[in-house]
Symmetry: C2
Subunit: 190 residues, 2 copies
Protein backbone atom coordinates (compact mmCIF):
# COMPACT_ATOMS: atom_id res chain seq x y z
CA UNK A 1 0.00 0.00 0.00
CA UNK A 2 1.78 3.08 -1.34
CA UNK A 3 0.55 5.63 1.19
CA UNK A 4 1.49 3.36 4.09
CA UNK A 5 4.97 2.65 2.75
CA UNK A 6 5.55 6.38 2.26
CA UNK A 7 4.47 7.03 5.87
CA UNK A 8 6.86 4.32 7.07
CA UNK A 9 9.71 5.78 5.04
CA UNK A 10 9.02 9.35 6.19
CA UNK A 11 8.10 8.77 9.82
CA UNK A 12 9.25 5.28 10.80
CA UNK A 13 12.27 4.93 13.09
CA UNK A 14 14.36 1.79 12.86
CA UNK A 15 15.20 1.03 16.49
CA UNK A 16 17.15 -2.17 15.81
CA UNK A 17 17.53 -4.93 13.23
CA UNK A 18 14.20 -6.31 14.38
CA UNK A 19 12.12 -3.35 15.61
CA UNK A 20 10.48 -0.60 13.57
CA UNK A 21 8.92 2.26 15.51
CA UNK A 22 5.81 3.81 13.99
CA UNK A 23 4.46 5.55 17.09
CA UNK A 24 3.69 8.72 15.15
CA UNK A 25 0.85 7.21 13.12
CA UNK A 26 -0.04 3.69 14.34
CA UNK A 27 1.09 2.68 17.83
CA UNK A 28 0.71 5.79 20.06
CA UNK A 29 -0.37 8.71 17.88
CA UNK A 30 -2.92 7.63 15.26
CA UNK A 31 -3.40 9.17 11.82
CA UNK A 32 -7.18 8.79 11.36
CA UNK A 33 -7.11 9.47 7.63
CA UNK A 34 -4.46 6.79 7.15
CA UNK A 35 -6.55 4.39 9.28
CA UNK A 36 -9.54 5.00 7.00
CA UNK A 37 -7.39 4.27 3.95
CA UNK A 38 -6.08 1.12 5.64
CA UNK A 39 -9.63 -0.04 6.40
CA UNK A 40 -10.63 0.57 2.79
CA UNK A 41 -7.57 -1.29 1.50
CA UNK A 42 -8.34 -4.35 3.64
CA UNK A 43 -11.93 -4.24 2.40
CA UNK A 44 -10.69 -4.11 -1.19
CA UNK A 45 -8.35 -7.07 -0.66
CA UNK A 46 -11.20 -9.13 0.82
CA UNK A 47 -13.94 -7.91 -1.52
CA UNK A 48 -14.20 -11.46 -2.89
CA UNK A 49 -15.44 -12.71 0.51
CA UNK A 50 -18.44 -12.35 2.79
CA UNK A 51 -17.23 -11.10 6.16
CA UNK A 52 -19.55 -10.94 9.16
CA UNK A 53 -17.04 -10.01 11.86
CA UNK A 54 -13.69 -8.32 12.32
CA UNK A 55 -11.56 -9.64 15.18
CA UNK A 56 -8.54 -7.82 16.57
CA UNK A 57 -6.67 -7.41 19.86
CA UNK A 58 -6.20 -4.35 22.05
CA UNK A 59 -4.76 -1.75 21.57
CA UNK A 60 -3.05 -0.93 18.24
CA UNK A 61 -5.30 -3.22 16.22
CA UNK A 62 -8.45 -1.34 17.23
CA UNK A 63 -8.27 1.63 14.86
CA UNK A 64 -7.42 -0.31 11.66
CA UNK A 65 -10.00 -2.99 12.53
CA UNK A 66 -12.74 -0.45 13.24
CA UNK A 67 -12.31 1.28 9.89
CA UNK A 68 -12.47 -2.08 8.12
CA UNK A 69 -15.66 -2.82 10.06
CA UNK A 70 -17.10 0.54 9.04
CA UNK A 71 -16.46 -0.09 5.35
CA UNK A 72 -17.83 -3.64 5.52
CA UNK A 73 -20.76 -2.84 7.79
CA UNK A 74 -19.50 -5.53 10.17
CA UNK A 75 -19.08 -5.44 13.96
CA UNK A 76 -15.55 -5.39 15.38
CA UNK A 77 -14.45 -7.36 18.44
CA UNK A 78 -11.18 -6.74 20.25
CA UNK A 79 -9.67 -9.50 22.35
CA UNK A 80 -8.72 -8.43 25.85
CA UNK A 81 -5.22 -9.07 27.20
CA UNK A 82 -6.32 -8.35 30.75
CA UNK A 83 -9.54 -8.75 32.70
CA UNK A 84 -11.82 -5.74 32.37
CA UNK A 85 -14.63 -4.55 34.64
CA UNK A 86 -17.40 -5.98 32.46
CA UNK A 87 -15.72 -9.02 30.88
CA UNK A 88 -17.93 -11.28 32.98
CA UNK A 89 -19.43 -13.69 30.43
CA UNK A 90 -18.30 -17.10 29.35
CA UNK A 91 -15.07 -16.52 27.50
CA UNK A 92 -12.98 -18.09 24.80
CA UNK A 93 -9.36 -17.82 25.92
CA UNK A 94 -5.99 -18.59 24.41
CA UNK A 95 -2.38 -18.38 25.52
CA UNK A 96 -0.04 -16.01 23.70
CA UNK A 97 3.68 -16.35 24.18
CA UNK A 98 5.97 -13.33 24.20
CA UNK A 99 9.54 -14.09 23.15
CA UNK A 100 10.79 -10.67 24.21
CA UNK A 101 9.30 -10.85 27.68
CA UNK A 102 9.69 -14.63 27.92
CA UNK A 103 6.21 -14.94 29.34
CA UNK A 104 2.82 -16.29 28.36
CA UNK A 105 -0.34 -14.24 28.61
CA UNK A 106 -3.99 -15.15 28.28
CA UNK A 107 -6.24 -13.33 25.83
CA UNK A 108 -10.05 -13.45 26.02
CA UNK A 109 -13.12 -12.94 23.86
CA UNK A 110 -16.69 -13.21 25.11
CA UNK A 111 -18.50 -16.18 23.62
CA UNK A 112 -21.39 -13.85 22.80
CA UNK A 113 -19.46 -12.07 20.11
CA UNK A 114 -18.19 -14.87 17.86
CA UNK A 115 -20.50 -17.67 16.81
CA UNK A 116 -20.26 -20.62 14.44
CA UNK A 117 -22.08 -18.62 11.74
CA UNK A 118 -19.41 -15.95 11.61
CA UNK A 119 -16.98 -15.40 8.74
CA UNK A 120 -14.08 -13.68 10.49
CA UNK A 121 -11.22 -11.52 9.29
CA UNK A 122 -8.49 -11.12 11.90
CA UNK A 123 -6.74 -7.73 11.92
CA UNK A 124 -3.55 -6.66 13.69
CA UNK A 125 -1.00 -3.89 13.38
CA UNK A 126 2.20 -5.97 13.25
CA UNK A 127 2.97 -9.55 12.27
CA UNK A 128 6.32 -10.72 13.62
CA UNK A 129 6.44 -14.19 15.21
CA UNK A 130 2.71 -14.58 14.83
CA UNK A 131 1.95 -15.53 18.43
CA UNK A 132 -0.90 -13.04 18.83
CA UNK A 133 -2.38 -14.07 15.48
CA UNK A 134 -2.20 -17.75 16.45
CA UNK A 135 -4.06 -16.98 19.68
CA UNK A 136 -6.81 -15.17 17.78
CA UNK A 137 -7.06 -18.04 15.27
CA UNK A 138 -7.39 -20.47 18.19
CA UNK A 139 -10.29 -18.41 19.57
CA UNK A 140 -12.09 -18.34 16.21
CA UNK A 141 -11.65 -22.11 15.97
CA UNK A 142 -13.05 -22.62 19.48
CA UNK A 143 -16.11 -20.65 18.42
CA UNK A 144 -16.53 -22.90 15.38
CA UNK A 145 -16.47 -19.84 13.13
CA UNK A 146 -14.85 -19.59 9.71
CA UNK A 147 -11.54 -17.78 9.32
CA UNK A 148 -11.64 -15.86 6.05
CA UNK A 149 -8.10 -14.61 6.56
CA UNK A 150 -5.90 -12.13 8.33
CA UNK A 151 -5.17 -8.49 7.55
CA UNK A 152 -1.88 -7.11 8.80
CA UNK A 153 -0.84 -3.48 8.54
CA UNK A 154 2.93 -4.11 8.74
CA UNK A 155 4.43 -7.58 8.33
CA UNK A 156 8.05 -8.21 9.16
CA UNK A 157 8.51 -10.90 6.54
CA UNK A 158 12.05 -11.57 7.70
CA UNK A 159 10.54 -13.02 10.86
CA UNK A 160 8.87 -16.40 10.51
CA UNK A 161 5.30 -15.85 11.67
CA UNK A 162 3.75 -15.15 8.28
CA UNK A 163 5.56 -17.95 6.48
CA UNK A 164 4.52 -20.60 9.00
CA UNK A 165 0.87 -19.53 9.02
CA UNK A 166 0.62 -19.30 5.23
CA UNK A 167 2.08 -22.80 4.98
CA UNK A 168 -0.80 -23.93 7.21
CA UNK A 169 -3.21 -22.44 4.70
CA UNK A 170 -4.02 -19.07 6.28
CA UNK A 171 -4.62 -16.21 3.86
CA UNK A 172 -2.67 -13.18 5.06
CA UNK A 173 -3.01 -9.77 3.42
CA UNK A 174 -0.22 -7.39 4.51
CA UNK A 175 -0.28 -3.76 3.50
CA UNK A 176 3.50 -3.44 3.87
CA UNK A 177 5.96 -6.34 4.09
CA UNK A 178 9.40 -5.62 5.44
CA UNK A 179 12.36 -7.60 4.12
CA UNK A 180 14.98 -6.04 6.34
CA UNK A 181 15.59 -3.44 9.06
CA UNK A 182 19.39 -3.84 8.90
CA UNK A 183 21.64 -0.79 9.02
CA UNK A 184 18.88 1.46 10.24
CA UNK A 185 17.02 1.24 6.92
CA UNK A 186 13.59 -0.10 6.01
CA UNK A 187 13.65 -2.39 2.97
CA UNK A 188 10.32 -3.68 1.67
CA UNK A 189 9.75 -6.87 -0.27
CA UNK A 190 8.57 -4.71 -3.16
Amino acid sequence: MKLLKEKIEQEGEVLSDVVLKVDSFLNHQIDPFLMKEIGDEFAKRYSDQIITKVLTIESSGIAPATFLGLTLGAPVVFARKRKSLTLTDNLYTSKVHSFTKNETNEISVSQKFITADDNVVIIDDFLANGEALKGLIDIVNQAGATIIGAGIVIEKGFQQGGKALREQGLRIESLANIKSLANGKVEFYD
Copy 2:
Protein backbone atom coordinates in the same frame (compact mmCIF):
# COMPACT_ATOMS: atom_id res chain seq x y z
CA MET B 1 -27.48 11.67 21.69
CA LYS B 2 -30.63 9.79 20.68
CA LEU B 3 -29.01 6.87 18.80
CA LEU B 4 -26.63 6.22 21.69
CA LYS B 5 -29.37 6.30 24.32
CA GLU B 6 -31.42 3.86 22.23
CA LYS B 7 -28.42 1.51 21.99
CA ILE B 8 -27.94 1.71 25.75
CA GLU B 9 -31.63 0.97 26.36
CA GLN B 10 -31.71 -1.93 23.88
CA GLU B 11 -28.32 -3.53 24.54
CA GLY B 12 -27.00 -2.19 27.86
CA GLU B 13 -26.98 -4.52 30.86
CA VAL B 14 -27.20 -3.01 34.32
CA LEU B 15 -24.79 -5.12 36.37
CA SER B 16 -25.24 -3.22 39.65
CA ASP B 17 -26.32 0.15 41.01
CA VAL B 18 -23.03 1.57 39.74
CA VAL B 19 -22.02 -0.45 36.69
CA LEU B 20 -23.56 -0.42 33.22
CA LYS B 21 -22.27 -3.04 30.77
CA VAL B 22 -22.14 -1.98 27.13
CA ASP B 23 -19.75 -4.63 25.85
CA SER B 24 -21.86 -5.26 22.77
CA PHE B 25 -21.11 -1.90 21.12
CA LEU B 26 -18.44 0.03 23.06
CA ASN B 27 -16.20 -1.93 25.43
CA HIS B 28 -15.49 -5.31 23.75
CA GLN B 29 -17.52 -5.50 20.54
CA ILE B 30 -17.52 -2.18 18.70
CA ASP B 31 -20.31 -0.86 16.47
CA PRO B 32 -18.30 1.08 13.85
CA PHE B 33 -21.29 2.97 12.47
CA LEU B 34 -22.18 4.12 15.99
CA MET B 35 -18.56 5.17 16.56
CA LYS B 36 -18.69 7.30 13.41
CA GLU B 37 -21.89 8.95 14.63
CA ILE B 38 -20.27 9.52 18.04
CA GLY B 39 -17.22 11.13 16.42
CA ASP B 40 -19.48 13.38 14.34
CA GLU B 41 -21.52 14.33 17.39
CA PHE B 42 -18.41 15.33 19.36
CA ALA B 43 -17.23 17.36 16.36
CA LYS B 44 -20.61 19.11 16.22
CA ARG B 45 -20.51 19.91 19.95
CA TYR B 46 -17.02 21.42 19.60
CA SER B 47 -17.57 23.09 16.22
CA ASP B 48 -17.11 26.47 17.94
CA GLN B 49 -13.47 25.61 18.73
CA ILE B 50 -10.19 25.01 16.92
CA ILE B 51 -8.92 21.57 17.88
CA THR B 52 -5.45 20.40 16.88
CA LYS B 53 -5.29 17.13 18.83
CA VAL B 54 -7.54 14.46 20.29
CA LEU B 55 -6.21 12.75 23.42
CA THR B 56 -7.64 9.53 24.81
CA ILE B 57 -6.50 6.47 26.76
CA GLU B 58 -6.31 2.81 25.73
CA SER B 59 -8.44 0.82 24.99
CA SER B 60 -12.15 1.77 24.84
CA GLY B 61 -11.46 5.45 24.14
CA ILE B 62 -9.59 4.68 20.92
CA ALA B 63 -12.50 4.09 18.53
CA PRO B 64 -14.60 7.15 19.57
CA ALA B 65 -11.49 9.36 19.61
CA THR B 66 -10.30 8.18 16.19
CA PHE B 67 -13.61 8.99 14.54
CA LEU B 68 -13.57 12.46 16.09
CA GLY B 69 -10.03 12.88 14.76
CA LEU B 70 -11.16 11.78 11.30
CA THR B 71 -13.98 14.32 11.21
CA LEU B 72 -11.76 17.13 12.53
CA GLY B 73 -8.70 16.23 10.48
CA ALA B 74 -6.73 16.06 13.74
CA PRO B 75 -4.26 13.43 14.98
CA VAL B 76 -5.31 11.20 17.87
CA VAL B 77 -3.01 10.19 20.73
CA PHE B 78 -3.83 7.42 23.18
CA ALA B 79 -2.18 7.39 26.58
CA ARG B 80 -0.58 4.08 27.50
CA LYS B 81 -1.43 2.38 30.80
CA ARG B 82 1.53 0.03 30.46
CA LYS B 83 4.97 0.25 28.89
CA SER B 84 4.95 -0.74 25.24
CA LEU B 85 7.80 -1.97 23.04
CA THR B 86 8.38 1.40 21.39
CA LEU B 87 7.35 3.85 24.12
CA THR B 88 10.99 4.85 24.52
CA ASP B 89 10.91 8.67 24.32
CA ASN B 90 10.72 11.26 27.01
CA LEU B 91 7.27 10.86 28.49
CA TYR B 92 4.67 12.88 30.31
CA THR B 93 3.28 10.65 33.06
CA SER B 94 0.49 10.90 35.58
CA LYS B 95 -0.88 8.74 38.37
CA VAL B 96 -4.44 7.43 38.06
CA HIS B 97 -6.14 5.99 41.11
CA SER B 98 -8.57 3.09 40.86
CA PHE B 99 -11.15 2.96 43.64
CA THR B 100 -12.34 -0.48 42.64
CA LYS B 101 -8.90 -2.05 42.58
CA ASN B 102 -7.57 0.26 45.34
CA GLU B 103 -4.37 0.82 43.40
CA THR B 104 -2.63 3.61 41.53
CA ASN B 105 -1.34 3.20 37.99
CA GLU B 106 0.88 5.38 35.85
CA ILE B 107 -0.26 6.52 32.43
CA SER B 108 2.15 7.88 29.79
CA VAL B 109 2.19 10.02 26.67
CA SER B 110 5.27 10.72 24.59
CA GLN B 111 6.34 14.34 24.79
CA LYS B 112 6.59 14.36 20.99
CA PHE B 113 2.85 14.15 20.56
CA ILE B 114 1.50 17.02 22.67
CA THR B 115 3.12 20.43 22.49
CA ALA B 116 2.34 23.86 23.92
CA ASP B 117 0.71 24.89 20.62
CA ASP B 118 -1.92 22.18 20.83
CA ASN B 119 -5.62 22.74 21.49
CA VAL B 120 -6.66 19.41 22.94
CA VAL B 121 -9.99 17.65 23.32
CA ILE B 122 -9.84 14.72 25.73
CA ILE B 123 -12.09 11.77 24.84
CA ASP B 124 -13.06 8.75 26.94
CA ASP B 125 -15.79 6.12 26.93
CA PHE B 126 -16.97 6.45 30.55
CA LEU B 127 -16.82 9.22 33.14
CA ALA B 128 -17.38 7.93 36.67
CA ASN B 129 -15.04 9.22 39.38
CA GLY B 130 -12.99 11.11 36.83
CA GLU B 131 -9.59 9.74 37.83
CA ALA B 132 -8.54 8.84 34.27
CA LEU B 133 -9.73 12.20 32.98
CA LYS B 134 -7.78 14.01 35.72
CA GLY B 135 -4.65 12.11 34.71
CA LEU B 136 -5.08 13.11 31.07
CA ILE B 137 -5.70 16.74 32.07
CA ASP B 138 -2.51 16.65 34.14
CA ILE B 139 -0.58 15.44 31.09
CA VAL B 140 -1.98 18.18 28.85
CA ASN B 141 -1.03 20.74 31.52
CA GLN B 142 2.51 19.36 31.76
CA ALA B 143 2.82 19.83 28.01
CA GLY B 144 1.68 23.44 28.33
CA ALA B 145 -1.10 22.77 25.84
CA THR B 146 -4.62 24.18 25.95
CA ILE B 147 -7.50 21.98 27.09
CA ILE B 148 -10.51 22.81 24.94
CA GLY B 149 -12.67 20.35 26.85
CA ALA B 150 -13.57 16.73 27.32
CA GLY B 151 -15.89 14.50 25.33
CA ILE B 152 -17.41 11.56 27.17
CA VAL B 153 -19.54 8.88 25.53
CA ILE B 154 -21.36 7.80 28.72
CA GLU B 155 -21.26 9.87 31.91
CA LYS B 156 -22.55 8.44 35.15
CA GLY B 157 -23.71 11.77 36.52
CA PHE B 158 -24.70 10.20 39.83
CA GLN B 159 -20.98 9.70 40.47
CA GLN B 160 -19.04 12.82 41.34
CA GLY B 161 -16.32 13.03 38.70
CA GLY B 162 -18.13 15.28 36.24
CA LYS B 163 -19.46 17.66 38.86
CA ALA B 164 -16.06 18.24 40.46
CA LEU B 165 -14.30 18.84 37.14
CA ARG B 166 -16.99 21.17 35.82
CA GLU B 167 -16.74 23.20 39.03
CA GLN B 168 -13.04 23.59 38.25
CA GLY B 169 -13.99 25.05 34.89
CA LEU B 170 -13.61 22.05 32.56
CA ARG B 171 -16.07 21.89 29.68
CA ILE B 172 -17.44 18.34 29.47
CA GLU B 173 -19.68 17.20 26.62
CA SER B 174 -21.37 13.86 27.41
CA LEU B 175 -23.41 12.07 24.79
CA ALA B 176 -25.46 10.23 27.43
CA ASN B 177 -25.66 11.16 31.12
CA ILE B 178 -26.98 8.56 33.52
CA LYS B 179 -28.94 9.68 36.57
CA SER B 180 -29.42 6.23 38.05
CA LEU B 181 -28.76 2.51 37.57
CA ALA B 182 -30.94 1.49 40.53
CA ASN B 183 -33.30 -1.47 40.25
CA GLY B 184 -31.62 -2.75 37.13
CA LYS B 185 -32.87 0.18 35.07
CA VAL B 186 -31.02 2.93 33.19
CA GLU B 187 -32.42 6.39 33.89
CA PHE B 188 -30.95 9.29 31.97
CA TYR B 189 -30.82 12.91 33.02
CA ASP B 190 -32.67 13.35 29.72
